[in-house]
Structures are given as C-alpha cells and as structure tokens.
Symmetry: D2
C-alpha cells in the first residue's frame, strides 16, 4: 500500500463529482491524478471549488477536456460522475484502454436492456456491458465488487430503500407485495444545474412531490428487490424535494408475512426484525441500526457514509414501518463509490471515509 | 354588519395565537378586544409581536391575565389557542358566561370520551361538552357550525388528510382499509416552546420522523374517516418534521375499490376521482384541486387558508396516490377557526381570509 | 372611486412582477387587466404562479406578448418590472400612448445621464425622459408623485439606506462624509434567473459579499444623499447575500456632527435623533421607528410594506449606528410602487398594502 | 508519538463541546478519555450525539459528573467548553492537579482584570491566573502556546476580525482609529440553549443585529489590536444573527495610512496589502488569502479550520474593505483549540484538522 493508486474523475464539476474530489483528495491510499470538465477545462480544482483551496493538490490539479487516452495514461481507476446516458460513452473505451471504471450514473445499474428501455425511453447503447457490470452496493455485492472491472454505483433513493428492505425480504419476514417507499431528498439530488426549479427562492420554504408515480429509480429498486424475493416485485415510490442541501429520509410501509393484531404478536415480530438486522448488519461499518427510542434524522448522517434506520411494528395496523436516513451525496453516491473502490483495491473498507 | 363583533383570544402568545391575532386585526367585521397571556400580561400586542407594530390596535391592546368575567364582558366570541388539556378549563365557564367558543386545541374534537382516554392517557375532564361541540371543518360541517356554540377546530394533520380523503370514501371509490398518510410538517407545528429539539440548529438541515406509530391526531382522523365510511377505519400515519417555518405536505396511499391494472382502468378511475372532487369542492373557496401536471407545493399555500391537492392513479400498483399541501397555522389552525367564525356569524365565508 | 382603474404589468414573471400581481389582484381600487411575458405568453397567471389559483381573476388573465398599443388600450397605468436597460424601451412609447408609467428598474432613477453612463457603462438611451421622471420614494417625494407621469421606483438597497439617513443629513445631525452602509439581502433580490450562483445548494448555509466596492445602486443612493446634504456625498456600500427568501438588513455607520465622548453627550444626541425621526416619520404609515431595546429583524417586516429601524449612539466611538429592515420585494420594490400608484391616483395611501 | 495522549472535555454537551468531541474522536494522536456533563451523566456520547454512533469509542465513553480528581486521573489535557464564568471554577484546580488546560470560554482571554470587570460586570474570580494564560491564536502566539499550561482559546468573532487586521496594523498600513467590524454569525454561536430567541421559527427567514453597541467580545478584540498598534485601539463592532447553522462573515472597514484617491494610489496600496498578507500568512496552514475576483463565502469554510479573506481598495472613498469567513465552531472555537493542543504537544499542527 506504499504506492498510491492513481484515480481520475470524469465530470467532476457536479455535486457528486465535487464530493468525490473531496473524498479522494484526503484518501490515504490514492492520488487524484485527473479531473475532467468541458466547462472548466484549464482551471484548477481550487479555483472552481474554493473550499478545496487548502489542499495543495487542489491548487495544482487542473480540469482537462475528457480524453480517453490521457485518462488511461493518468489513472488506473476512473470514476464517471456524468449524467445518465453520457457515462456509457466513456465506460467502454476506458475499459478497453485498461482502466477500471466506477460509474455513478444509472447507465449500468440494470441487468435487463428491456427494463432500461421501458424506464429510460430508448434502447441501451451498450447492452453487452450490462452483463459485466456489478451493482456497487457493498453490503450485498461485496464479493462481486472485489473482481469487478465495471462497477455501477447505486442511486441515492435505491440505497435508502434497499438496505433496510433486502434482509427482511430475504428472511421472508415481509411480503413482496404492497411495499411503499415515501422518500424526501435534499436539493443536491437534483444536480448542479441552472434551472428555475432549483433556485433558492423556489426550494426554500417549500416541500413538494415530483416524478409521481413512475420515477426512473424504480427500475433498479425493483430489480434488486425481485432478486431478493425470488420473484417480481413492484413497489410504490414517491420522491419529494425538501429544503436541505443534503440528506434522504425514506419511510417504508411493509406488510409482515406474520399476521398479528396484539402486543404479543408485535413483540414477536419486533424480535425477529431485530435478529434479522443484527445478522445482516452487525459488522457493517456504514450501517447503523438504531435502538431504543431513537429515530433516524438526516442531520446525524450528513457528511458521512452511514445509512441509519429504525423500525416500528404497529399492532393497530399489522404493518411494519421502517425509516432510514442517509447523505444522498455520500452513501447515496460518492462515498459508496469510494467504498466500492476500497473493496476493489484491497484497501481497508473504511479508508478515507471516517 | 355595521357594528363589529368583539372577539378575544386566550393564549395569544403561541404561533396559532399570533396568527389568529394577525387575521383578526385585519378582519373587516370584528374587533380584537382582548388577548390574554400569563407570561406577557401588561405588554401590548405590538411589543411582543413587533410585526404588528403598524396596526394602531396592536399598539393599544395589552395582554391581560386570563379571566372569565372580564373576557365575557369584553368579547362575544372567544378563541382558545391553548395547549391540549388547558382549553377545557376555559371552555365551560366561558360558555356559561354567554360567550361562543372556538377552540383550537384537541380538547373537544373527539365525540367519544373513551377514545380521548385511549389517546391522551387520562379521562376527559368535561365529557358532557363533547356532545355539544361541532368539529369545525367547514367543508364537512358547515351547517352544524352555523348553530354551534362550541366549535372544536380541527388539527393541522387531520385537515390535510381528511379533505382529500373524505369525498373518496363517501363515494365508495376507495377502500376503508389500508389507508396510509405520510405527512411532513414545518416547525411551527411544534409550537412556540423553548425546547432543545426545536432550536434552529437542531431543525435546520434535518428531516426526521416522530411520534411513530401512534400519534394523538390519529384519534380525530379515524373518527371522521369512520363516520364517512360508515364503519371503523384504522389508518397508518407517520408525521415528520422538516425545516420550514410553515406548511404540511401529506402523501396519501389509497386502495381503490375498482381493480385495474392497465391504462384504460386507470383512466376510468381517474375520471371518477375527478368527478368526485368536482362535486365535493367546485364551490369551496379554500380547496384547490390541481389539474394537469401540477403537484402540490407548500410554498403555494403558505400564508393562505387554501389546501391544495393532486392525485395520480398508478396502473403498475393499482393504487391511488393523493398529495395535499396546506399552511399548518392557517388552514391547519387559525385560518380555519376564522372561517368557522365567519360561518357562525353570517359573515362572508372568505372575509378576512383573502 | 367606484370605477376601478385598469392597470397592467410588463414583465410579470419575475419576483417583483409576481409580487406586484399579488398586490394588484387584491387591491380594492384597481383591476389587473394585462400581464405580459414573452416566455409565458398564452398561459394564465394562475398556471405560472399556482399560489394565485384561488383568485378568479388569476385563472382568467393570460400573459400576452408585450405590445404597446394593446397595453395602452387595456391599462391606464403600466408597471414595468423589467431588467435594467429594457424598461427604457417601453417607457417612452407607453407615455406617448397616454399611459402613466411606474418603472421598477433603475432606468429612470438618475437625474444625470453622465452618472448613468459611469455606473451602467453605456450612454442613457433616452436622456430626455430623465428630467420628467420622479424618484418614487413617497416619504420624500410625495407631492411630486401626485403629478408624475413617469415614476422611477427606488431600488431595494437604496430604500433601506435612504429612509434612515436622509432626515439626519437634512437636520445636520450627521456629517456627509464617511457614511458606511453594510447590507444583507435575501436571494429574491437576485431575481428569478436560472444561474448556478442562486441555486438552493449554493445559497443555503452560505453568506457572502458581492459587488464590492462599487455596486450600481450607489449611484441613486449618492444622488439622493447629495440632494439632502446640499453637496456631493460619496459612501461606502457593501451588499451581501444571505439565505432567506426576502428581506434586507442594513447597518449604517454614521459620524455625528456633534462631538461627544461621554454618556451625557450620547444622551443629548440620542434625544436629537429621536426628535428628528419623530418629525420626519410620526405620520408615515410605512415607517416604523423602534423604541426601547427593540432592534430591527427582517422577519418582522417580510410580507409588509414597512421599513423599520432603530439606532444606537456609541459613546466609546462617538459614532451613530442605525439599523434598518425591510422586505426587498415589497417596500424595496413592488409595495413601494403600489404606494406611489395610490398617491398618484388619489387612493388612500395604504390601500391594498395592509 | 506512538502512545496517544489522553484528553478530556468538561462541558461536552454544547455545540463547541460536541465539535471538540468530533475532532478528538478522529485525532490520530490523542485518546478521548473523559467527557463530562451534569445533564447527561451516565449516558454514552453516542446516545446524546447519534451522529457519533459509528465510532466505537463514542459508544463506550460515558458522560460523567465533572470531578477534578477523576479528570486529572484520566486526562493529561482538559478542554473546558463551559459558559463564561464557569470555566474559572475548573481551571485553577485542574492546573493544581497537574493537567494542562485549554479553555474555550472568555474567562482567561483578557490580560487586565479591570477590563474584565468593565465588560463582564463583576470582578474576575481568579485574577492571578490571567498572567499565566496564553491567548490561543496560533498565528500570533505560536511560541507562547508551546510552553503554555493554560491556553485561553479566542472567541469566534475575535478570530474573524483579528487575523485579517493584525498584520495590517503591525505593518502600519492602516490607522488604529476608525476601525469598523460588521459581523454575521450562524445560530450555533448562541450555544445549545433552550431559549425562544433561538427556535427554528424565530431564526429562519430572519436576519437581525444584537448586542449593539458594546458586545463583550470587544474587550479581547481591542486588547489584541492595541498590542499590535502599540497603543489603545477602540473599534465599532456590530454582530448579527443569520439563519445558517455555522459560519461567521465579517466585513471590516479600515482607514489606510496612505492617502489616495486615484487608481494608481489604489494599486500601490493593493500591492502593499498583498505583500503584507503574503509575509504574514504564506505558510499558515489555516489562513487562506483569496486572490483575483474571489470573495469569501461561509460555505467554503464550514466544517474546516480555515479562515479565508479577501480585500478591496476603494479609490472612491479612500478606504480598505476586508472580508473574512470562518466556521465559528471550528476555527472560531474547537478547531482552533485543537490546533493549539497540536502545537503544545508537538504534534503536526494540522493533525486531526484536515
């Protein structure tokens, strides 16, 4: 581990690119060797992101136009922090040039080109790559990540929904039908785009749903839930925008397989859920299952790679309510990508993330 | 209407009391003649709420200790903007002294003393008054409000849930089972209390659930839903705190009675829902049913007495999703109380509220 | 006053245009008869600003392309809520067509075409109109406004600086030299423009100066201060952006003409300042001079046409510190324009503004 | 450096105590061995601050009642994060028991007990300690800090004012008279106190001055400016509260000793200021002097120990305007205290702070 691994970021001028830069600038085992941006080419990282100004590397490193050969010469691992549909233009050529690729877009998250077409409205431009990509959710695919050359890092909403739900589904504690996910995201989730809808005055003192009822992220959520359930799963998902910079709070409404309508039944289910989460996550460094009266709060996870969640069994309704919180830009994007890189490179999994 | 009706506010130092004062100071048909507050007794309304300083009445009117005789002498209508459990101490004596009472607390919202005990943890102190109180939701109880002496103004969450749900339930378009309400409220909903949990730094950049799974407001929500359904209704309700001063955004997950799984079925249901809302609310001045692609947004209702909502039929899940927005302090509290007063007094229903 | 005056807004899609629409929709003596917007032509006011949806007029009135003849046919008074440099294209033709014009831009605020050129970087396109325009600060130019055909409504920063400073300067209580104005504005002051700098994530949790040291508003501030002082005044002005939707807080550092360095001298000056403000503003409906320990707070003026201020005499430094607060979009823009209209039309000055 | 130094925090339940805990939990050369809080005694650090839940040490370490012997047994260095007037009760006994003390309160920042009495309204309870305390501003007192047993860590406002001003004063580039500091602070500066003034609803959408004109922090600011100027300095200082969690933005109005009124004079002064700052801060790891068009922005320093500033020479007024930004809880409190600890212990000065 003496020699640092050289890494690059394509599309480093958005919010997840910026956060990747922050994490990689301070990572003990890598050197951030290339950042690209058409818009800011020629300027240093510190000029565009003044908060990096006290890192000497950020004052030296300049944005360049994205160029495959140059990237392949400068970096062993390339992160793609690009809009959906753009990553696919870079992934194949970079892999061909010998790089490992960690993509933060949705381009390689689906196993099925047909599902991609249904949700994204056009044929997948490189369907042959879908088979080789590994869905970069370390708590589920850690072993596959170790050997992956193309990692498709999960979306922010999917991470907040999948981590609390998958173990319950696998253990048969909840039904595969009737799952509802109600999510609220900070505005950074919309990206660093100059659009009226995301102006301060339009978002401050505002809470609003959007993308109802068929948000694109449903495709990868349902893919992973279906794999866990062993059959097709369709869920209800409602994203909302809320006036914070960072954070996703998801509330999940789940139907237990066990019927109960009294305190004893609720207590039994409660114990089963506790045991299920304990088995799944006791040794996971970035999953925090809350105990006692604690409920998740986005402010307790922002700036960290941790997802935290709590659950309540409701004897009045016979339902299980699970609530999760994460930083949409860290565990929901860049932190998770770095976690995958750590696994892939054999670094300690928490390196650069604590 | 030449002579103004004299009104008073007991407990005018909280957020709903302050908003009541704002509405009553500018109301064309009433005179705000008394405001009480133990804490601020002797100070003018304008001293405690500097934003009222340009109303001459607010520079004259002083807070007094709450006193039944004095209130009865000074005001024909008394608003109680007090914590739950305190209103009940004032309502009976004020009624006995000849006042009409509009209570903003939960003390008189339930018809059943037993349900009160279940949710509030102690016996109702004046169960005989429960029978005489009218639930002050004008869109449902307008006629009863006209003759009421004791009006129990609904809670903020209940208003945001009941108005979109009741017509569907009455029309038999949705099942009475499986209703889920996921609500997000601004911090003013917690009241003007000096508690760590509601400090700026604790709420800003934070979103968090609370009161899961059995919030007290469930009791009045389920009471009114049960009346509409003609049988007992139990719902799932999750309140969250979000960093805005005002506003509630509620997302409702409802099960249509009609089964459908294709676009045609969805379109048919869609038309039925539209007709149902049209029949219920076309002439309501404070209900805005959104059309086309519009979705509710708290910033479009804050400062107004309007509740707005939109719905989406989801052919993938067979579910109906309804989203509503209101100002928790106006339509969810003080504006609604003024609307009831307007009805009770024969004023135009929108007087002082546009 | 039975017949309502017809008014129009050119450029009604920005924040000051939207606020003008809100004020004019509810004004008792006018009818909003025309709103123009190239971008939204053909859509109703309520479609673009859903918060106006409960006003029937807003559901009927459609944005049109700006057209002089049509505007002159539809409206007696036309408000120009346009970017600097665009208003000037409309003002002359509208005046020629017989309209009265109230301009919210900076195009007609300066008496000197040379000063305009210095601060705006190009020759004034219609210098002949500068002589006829009246600076629409009612507390100073009420009489001139009564007869004006072209009213140049003041900027937001200038209003917050001029109202507290002019009486002191006229009374000779402060020196004309060394004036410093440190201002903080809400983000709506930047306009409804899709620029990265004003995204929620860029403004939230951020406070920053801009336009240092020669902001364009200096030109009108210094013009009016110079008129009051009877000689040229140059001031130091630093605007900052702060994460609120609305509001300007200005702190002024002033040098009293009277030298003092003890409590007695401070008390004497204090009394003189109080008397000066009392003489200037005791009868002004929209100026609130705070007493006692009260200090201005933007939250006490947002949504109102009030500017409030307080002062402190500092015996340690011999200086006078004055602090003012206003809503940049109301008293700093649209409310002030309506106030001028009320004066011009002989309506009660507070009509539609309380 | 193999053995970690044991440290403790007295009063770890406030915002600066919490931030100290965060910094010390992740510091490579220390072990956080004791945290005290009367209110939370017996509970773990992670129970009170859930965001620390993924640090094993935070799940083990419990708050205890503050006790001198126990603290002295458990920690070599004790941080006091206590209210003003309380630290003094602990400092003497802890020093007597052999600890080194780093105090974050104002209790030991003044050299003169008389000045303390003037600003704090009572006699200093331990004036003999004032002579031994070192003002913990590393950029000025680095050498003294190396040998200090009692370090008085500076206040947040003073840090933001002193660092940009001291070099100019020492170099004779500005006059010692007429200095004005206009500061805006995030709400965490008010501490974690359950008071109405700091509720979310009272601070959000609000900007307001306070403590005008004689804030207590003036005493230490003027002490340090006077030492740099070689004679008494009195300044004007206006603090304001703004709705962000963290950050101070200070705008300084300074009078250059060199008279100038044209571009050439301004350019000459500009070069002198640049050279002065270059000489003072080129090698300082936590001072960022901005170049080009960049202006400070609190969002670029929050979460870091960096203070950044920029300046503008104004040929119109002959004045120098300097603007600085810092995180009030890091460089303005806990980060600076850790920086002093690093110096005192011989650790790399940036250890645990990058």
């Amino acid at each position: 581990m003496d020699k640092k691994v050289k890494v690059g970021i394509v599309g480093a001028s958005g919010y997840s690119g910026e956060e990747l830069a922050r994490l990689l600038l301070t990572h003990p085992h890598v050197e951030l060797a290339a950042v690209t941006s058409r818009q800011y080419s020629g300027q240093t990282l510190a000029q565009i992101f003044p908060r990096f100004g006290h890192y000497p590397a950020a004052r030296r490193l300049r944005f360049s136009e994205p160029n495959i050969e140059r990237l392949a010469a400068e970096a062993e691992i390339v992160f793609l922090a690009l809009p959906h549909g753009v990553s696919v233009e870079f992934a194949g050529p970079l892999l061909a040039a010998g790089c490992q690729v960690i993509d933060l877009s949705a381009d390689f998250r689906l196993r099925s080109a047909a599902v991609y077409q249904e949700f994204y409205g056009h044929a997948h431009p490189a369907p042959e790559l879908l088979a080789t990509a590994v869905y970069g959710l370390p708590e589920v695919y850690r072993e596959a990540i170790r050997g992956a050359r193309l990692i498709a890092s999960p979306g922010c909403y999917p991470t907040s929904i999948l981590l609390p739900t998958l173990p319950l589904l696998r253990a048969g504690l909840i039904k595969a039908t009737g799952i509802i996910a109600d999510s609220h995201s900070g505005v950074s989730g919309a990206g660093r785009k100059a659009e009226l809808d995301y102006l301060f005055v339009e978002c401050n003192e505002s809470v609003r749903p959007y993308g109802v009822p068929k948000h694109r992220h449903l495709s990868e959520i349902e893919q992973e839930l279906s794999l866990a359930a062993g059959g097709p799963v369709i869920i209800q998902f409602t994203p909302h925008l809320m006036p914070v910079n960072r954070g996703i709070l998801t509330t999940l409404y789940l139907a237990p397989t066990r019927h109960f309508d009294d305190a004893a039944g609720a207590a039994a289910l409660n114990a089963e859920v506790a045991a299920c989460y304990q088995a799944a996550y006791a040794n996971e460094p970035f999953v925090r299952v809350l105990e006692g009266k604690a409920l998740p709060d986005t402010k307790n996870v922002t700036g960290t790679n941790v997802v935290e969640f709590a659950w309540r069994v409701d004897p009045r309704t016979g339902r299980l309510v699970v609530m999760s919180a994460e930083d949409n830009i860290v565990k929901g994007a860049s932190g998770q990508a770095v976690q995958s890189m750590n696994i892939r490179c054999g670094f300690p999994e928490t390196a650069g993330l604590m």
